[in-house]
Amino acid sequence: MLVNNFLLLGALLFCIGVYGVIVRKNAVLVLMSIELILNSVNINLLAFDRLWADSGNNDGNVFALYIIAVAAAEVGVGLAMVLLIFRNRKTISLDDLSEMKG
């Protein structure tokens, strides 16, 4: 298979994620968009891992695993924060998070 199949899929997911991050106002949805990006990275890593499989390393796999772990932690933290702001503001619209500016 062409490695580019996966890579382009990854790129596509990445860009969709970016779009989501920019467009979405709801904090939870932004977090979801981030997951898209992280998944695209993992697809990349695993594709590259196959690319270099002959050299006998599978660092890509390890990397991907670690990313999943970190992503989990990040989501946990992110949702905790979302809850926090919701508690304080009764909304999770990022638009309202602009008390400080300039």
């Binding site: 298979m1 490695v3 969709i16 905790a80």
Partner: protein, 175 residues
């Protein structure tokens, strides 16, 4: 026995279908006007990703993906949706008004750049996917790596998670 070429065709078709589902799912995630729908679409993408991982003979990662993402993260998301009392249904106020005017160009620009370099860089480089070549010992190799070469980051990861848990609890708890 399937011929290698047949497998390749099958793989390509499989890849294509899954990829299509993932892309559509991803697009729905970022466009859906229903938070729960978006979350569900995300599950589809995650699952698709897990499938791709399998295709890339990363079984352990694929399983982890399913366990962690679909099993844990998605539940977290859904909890998040519930706890923040999001509207269960259509909610027009999920997007920033007019933000697509910024988001779309940025995303397309990125896509253009990435696509250009990837196509140019890897042109028709091939990889051996699942079923091609040996995958024996993948998982043991993985574990070897984790506990030798990458032992320290692994050790650190545990602290990352610990810190995240502690912090998240403090932040999220009512007081």
């Amino acid at each position: 026995m399937l011929l290698a070429s047949d497998i390749q065709v099958a793989q390509n078709i499989g890849f294509g279908i899954i990829a299509l589902v993932m892309v559509i799912g991803a697009l729905r995630v970022v466009t859906s006007s229903n938070v729960v729908h978006a979350a569900l679409w995300l599950i589809a993408v995650m699952a698709g990703a897990a499938a791709q991982y399998l295709l890339l003979s990363a079984e352990f990662v694929a399983v982890t993906q399913v366990l962690v993402y679909i099993g844990a993260v998605m539940v977290l998301f859904l909890f998040g949706v519930m706890l923040t009392r999001a509207k269960l249904g259509k909610d027009v106020d999920l997007d920033n008004a007019g933000a697509w005017k910024i988001g779309a160009p940025v995303a397309l620009l990125l896509l253009g750049v990435m696509g250009y370099v990837l196509v140019k860089g890897f042109d028709d480089t091939k990889i051996a996917v699942s079923g091609e070549g040996s995958t024996v010992g993948q998982n043991s190799l993985l574990s070897d790596k984790i506990f030798s070469t990458y032992a320290l980051p692994f050790w650190a990861l545990s602290f990352v998670l610990l810190a995240a848990v502690i912090g998240a609890i403090v932040l999220a708890r009512k007081d």
